[in-house]
Structures are given as C-alpha cells and as structure tokens.
C-alpha cells in the first residue's frame, strides 16, 4: 500500500508573527519557515505505518512556490520515499488544495491519505474533510491513534471529540487528519539529510493535473489582535454584573 501525505510550508511556530504594514497579510519575507507541525505528525505516522509493514511507500506532496521543496527535503530526510511538488505562484486555499489532492490521488492511487488536521498559519481545518468529500472516501479527523489492519483492509482510528474519544473503523482507502497527541515526530539524522538529496522530487503544475485554481474569496484586511489591556479592580459584585452586562455584553 502507498501512503500519500501532504505537507505545508508555514511560518515556524516559534516566530513572532508580524502583520504587513499595508494590512494585506502576514509578513513572510525573511521569516523562518518550516513544516507545519501537524503535517510533521502526519508524516511521522505514515513512516510508522510503513515501518510496521502495513505500507510499502510514503509519498509526500507540497504545493506552492519553489521554496516548498525545502519542506519536501525535510520530509525526505525524515524518511519519506519521494516527493511531489505542485508548482504554482498563486495563493492556495483549502478548496483548491483539496481539488489538487483529489487529482493527485487519482494519479498516485494511494491506499491512505494522511494530512495534518490544520495548518498553524490560517488554522482552516478544512482540507482533509473536503478532499474526503471529493473522493467519496471515509474520513477520520483529529486522529489520536491510528492502526492499519492489512488483512481486513481497514484502519482503526481513535479521535478526540468533545467529551471523550471516538473509535472508528474505516474501510481503505481513507483520509485521516492528525491531531497533536498522535505521536512525537522523529528528528532527521545527518546521514538521512545527505541521503535525502538523492531522493526524487517530481514537479507538476495545476494545469497538468487539470485543476483550475479559483479564488473564492477576497481578503479585505489582516490586522493584529487587540493588545491585552490592564485589568481594573471593582468594588462590588453589582458593579461586576453591570460591566459584564453593559460593557462586555456577555450576560
């Protein structure tokens, strides 16, 4: 079985985010970028499934400009077998990514599509669900445990939901999106970083995949959240109730 994992290049989680002066978006020039942590967890899980013998190949895909090959190299150094770079300069939103992934799945025919549950830049949390819909595949989102049963051709997924855990049994092929607690991604090693250079990265364009990228919405403005203000001391419960009712409008 082949596993396809999508990996996104995002601003590193430790970087302090700055909004561009013209408010069109977040400043990404000269900012440290790395693989989205949830994608890293998805890749780690794919590698573990392969190491358990339930899969034979792990293919990673990233979409965007040339810089995406950096995260593909990181993924190859972690242990993925080959990479696919969907090259485009256009901004990509979940719907377009889901369509591109659908096209790639048709081409690659993986038994399992693994994604991070969301990217830490836009926090959309949509792509996995959309692509599962397009493919008409079963989906297990926010997975905190994954176990592939090769003989039954299915996968057991434990997912974190409000009020507890939900256990699912999905028929393969399936889509799984990964949550934070699924695993602890491995480090690449120096020898594997060197070996990764020799692993292939294929380049395709959205046109070749016959997917038309449309921008379904316009971003009007990106602003920083309000700075936290200092608290005030109140003299009575009545005053508190009054403020909650008339200032905060939460009562």
């Amino acid at each position: 079985m082949k596993i396809l994992v999508s990996v996104k290049r995002v601003i590193d989680y430790a970087v302090k985010i700055r909004v561009k002066p013209d408010k069109t978006g977040v400043e990404t020039a000269n900012v440290k970028m790395s693989m989205n942590p949830f994608c890293e967890i998805a890749l780690e899980e794919a590698l573990r499934v392969k190491e358990s013998g339930a899969a034979s190949e792990v293919v990673i895909v990233s979409m965007g400009n040339e810089k995406c090959t950096e995260v593909l190299r990181t993924g190859l150094a972690m242990g993925a077998d080959r990479g696919i770079h969907v090259a485009t300069e256009r901004p990509l939103y979940p719907l377009a990514v889901a369509k591109l992934l659908q096209a790639l799945v048709r081409k690659e025919e993986p038994g399992l599509l693994l994604l991070g549950k969301q990217a830490i830049d836009d926090d959309c949390n949509q792509t996995g669900q959309m692509v599962a819909g397009f493919l008409n595949w079963p989906q297990g989102t926010f997975a905190s445990k994954v176990k592939v049963d090769k003989s039954e051709n299915c996968v057991h997924v434990e997912r974190e939901i409000d009020g507890g855990l939900e256990s699912l049994r999905l028929q393969l092929p399936a889509v799984i999106t990964t949550d934070l607690r699924l695993n602890q991604p491995r480090y690449a090693t120096l020898p594997n970083i060197m070996k990764a250079k020799k692993k292939p990265i294929a380049k395709v364009t959205p046109e070749e995949l016959q997917v038309e990228i449309t921008e379904d919405f316009d971003i009007l403005e990106v602003v920083e959240p309000d700075k936290r203000k200092a608290g005030v001391m109140l003299s009575s419960v009545d005053e508190l109730l009054d403020k909650l009712k008339n200032e905060a409008h939460v009562l």
């Binding site: 900012v31 190299r73 480090y187 020898p191």
Partner: protein
C-alpha cells in the same frame, strides 16, 4: 509568626512569577534567534541550513530545558549525548565506514554553534569527543579505527583528550609523562600525570600524549588508553566556575602497560597529532562561544523591551540600543571569523593555524564580552541563577583559557606571520 508566613508566601509567589518570566524569556529568545539568524542564512549551503535546523530542534528540546539543572547539580547527561549521537553528532568529521557523518569543519561550526545556544557546557564536551574521534579516524591504524570508532561514533563509549599536565600547560611540548619500552618488549609503560581532563573518570577512551623520545615537540607520541587499564586512575572531579555539566579530573598514570598497537600516528609524531586536534578544537570552542553569545543577545533583546525604568522600556534608551548594536555586531563578526577559519581548515589553506588562532582569540573574547554585557543589561536579575545569563557567562569564561590560552593564540599568530 503571621508575618513570617506572609513573607514566605510572598517570596514563593515572587519566585513563581519569576520562573514564569524566565520561561517566557526562553521561549521568546527562541523566536528572536530565528529572526536575527536569517541575516546569516544566505551564507549557508542548503545542507548547512538543514543541519542547523536539526541541531536547532535538538538544542531546543533536549538541551535548553535541562541545562540549568545539569549545571546546578553537576550532572553529566550521557544519555542525551547518546541521543545526539543517534542523529549523527557523535562522529561529525569521521569517515562513514565506521558510523561517521564525514562533514566539513564549516558544517561542524554551524552545528556546534546551534547546539551551544541550548547548552554550552554539554556541547563543549561533545566537541571534545568529536575531536578525539577525528584524531583516531585520521591518524589511527585500520585495526584501531575498526576496534573503537563504531562504538565511539554512537557514543556508547566516550573519549577524552589528554595533553595538559600539572606543570605543562601553555608550554605543551615540555610535557613530562613518559612512555618507555622495556628491552625486548613491544609494549610501552606510561608514567606521569595529566590535568584538566574533560570527561575524566567517565570516558572510556583516553588519547594520551607521552614522551617517547628527546625533549621538545619531536619526542612525543599519542597513545590510546582504555579505562580499566591497570595503573590508570583519576583524581576527584574538580569544582569549576563553569562547564559544570561535564566532569573534569586529573589523571595519574602509574606504570600503565599500553600495547604498541594502541599508538595513534607514528612514534614521536604525537605532537603533530595533538596540534591537529587543537586546530579543530579551537574552531569548535569558538563556535560554542558564538552560540552562547547569540543566546544571551536574544534573551537580552527580550528583556530590555520588557524592563521599564524611568517610565519607559530600557530598550528605548540610546545607551541600551548602542550596547545591543555592538553586541550583535560582535556576534556576527565572531561567527564570520569562525566560518572563515573552518573553511581554511577544510582546505588546509596557507596560514590556516594563524587563521584558526585569530578566530579562537577573537570569538572567545568578543562573545564572552557579549554575555557579560547581557548580564549588565539584566542588572541584578542577570546575577541570579533564576535567569540563564550568568550560566552562559560562567560557561564562556573558560574558552579564553583552554585549547591554548588567548595569549598563546597571539604567539601562534605572530609566529606564523613572521615566518
């Protein structure tokens, strides 16, 4: 009684608050580093960027959170060193046949700088171990390499470099430890003592320089000694200002019998082996200084933005800005000197030893100054070990002394210049 209780509680609360603050500085320090290090990214190869990324993750997760504790308890984190070796950090410069990563010194400088950002003392020991491994790899016989390198590069076994003696420091060629052959025997009998040995007592393998011939540098041979050899004993661990996460002891050699096969390099060629190790070691130590200074710089940048006096953040005072700008400049200059020296080592460039000595002297001094300035800007808080700065100051202090004092660096530079 009541007052006493309140006092205690108050102090406990203050301490808790401070710990939170320190924790935040750590976290923010990380973010800040990534930003200022981008200024340097264009200089690095794609590989080096990847190595740095790897070292960064390791430093952040495996070193930084524990370094203060190791320092306080004088704990030598062998398990963490072995974890580092799993990633290939145990035999950076060794050939790949016995588990080495075969990297250049320029690569190594990037890696050690990044690791030292998280913990200078532990990284410094790692560099010493790498130096020993590369000497065995470069000068050792095939048998010796095959026997030891597989377990050294994984750090299943640790190693130490033994040149300095109680009465022979800067004048290293005057060492008095002897290695004599009895008539009709091939084994050597070693007698003498060694001082300031990093890893002493814990390491399994010791590269010992001993006199086999005439006085001076041309009568010295390098031997590989194993812990457990009869007559090899260790002094009590020294109590030190810094570098407290690695043990340092003296070593006594009392009629230690060493087979001829344990010779590293030829007879009477040991000083060449020792100096070759030192050239690399000086680059490594200088790189560790840069990493430590970068950490202090980042922590400081965060601190001055938060600390308010006279009604505004102290970052808004020009004195602070001038100080910070000089600090970042000195870190950058040190980093470039180290990179330049490392690439000189890699191609054995003319004047390499002087180039390395310049980098060692410049970087260890400038970076110690940066840490010290960071402490000054932290004021009284910088002097407390609740904040990490004082530890970096203590750890970097020894870098101007070891691997050849900075005064010896001046001698080396002038000598090569006027040759």
């Amino acid at each position: 009684m009541n007052y006493a209780k309140q006092g205690l509680l108050g102090r406990a609360l203050a301490h808790a608050r401070q710990c939170c603050k320190v924790h935040k500085i750590y976290a923010r320090g990380l973010a800040a580093q990534s930003a200022s290090l981008q200024w340097d990214a264009h200089r690095l190869s794609e590989d080096q960027l990847n190595f740095r990324e790897l070292a960064w993750g390791f430093a952040q997760q495996e070193l930084m959170p524990f370094a203060a504790d190791w320092d306080r308890k004088e704990h030598f984190p062998v398990d963490v060193l072995r974890k580092a070796a799993k990633l290939g950090f145990g035999g950076l410069f060794c050939s790949s046949d016995f588990g080495g990563s075969k990297l250049t010194r320029a690569d190594g400088a990037v890696i050690f700088e990044t690791l030292a950002y998280g913990d200078v003392a532990t990284t410094a020991y790692l560099t010493i171990h790498n130096m020993c491994c590369s000497l065995i790899d470069k000068f050792g016989s095939e048998e010796l390499r095959a026997q030891w390198l597989p377990r050294l590069t994984t750090m299943e076994l640790l190693s130490s470099y033994c040149l300095t003696e109680p009465d022979s420091g800067s004048d290293a060629a005057s060492l008095q430890t002897t290695a004599r052959q009895k008539l009709g025997h091939t084994d050597y009998i070693l007698n003498g003592s060694k001082a300031f040995i990093s890893g002493g007592g814990v390491s399994d393998v010791y590269l010992v320089m001993a006199r086999t011939g005439m006085d001076g540098p041309k009568g010295i041979t390098c031997f590989l000694l194993e812990k457990g050899m009869a007559g090899l004993s260790f002094g009590r661990p020294e109590h030190k200002l810094g570098w407290r996460s690695q043990p340092t002891t003296s070593i006594t050699l009392d009629n230690v019998k060493v087979p001829r096969a344990n010779m590293v390099g030829g007879e009477n060629e040991g000083f060449k082996v020792a100096l070759s190790g030192l050239d690399g070691g000086r680059i490594n130590i200088a790189a560790c200084s840069v990493g430590g200074a970068q950490f202090c710089l980042d922590a400081c940048e965060e601190y001055v933005k938060r600390r308010k006096q006279f009604g505004k953040a102290i970052a808004d005072f020009q004195n602070t800005q001038f100080k910070l700008s000089d600090m970042v400049m000195r870190v950058q200059a040190s980093r470039l000197m180290v990179a330049h020296a490392a690439s000189a080592f890699d191609v054995n460039a003319p004047g390499m030893t002087a180039t390395v000595a310049m980098a060692k002297r410049f970087a260890t001094e400038a970076c110690y100054g940066v840490c010290n300035d960071a402490l000054q800007l932290h004021g009284g808080y910088g002097y407390l070990n609740d904040y990490p700065i004082e530890r970096y100051v203590r750890d970097l202090r020894v870098h101007t002394i070891l691997e050849g004092t900075n005064e010896i660096m001046q001698m080396v530079i002038a000598r090569q210049m006027m040759r």
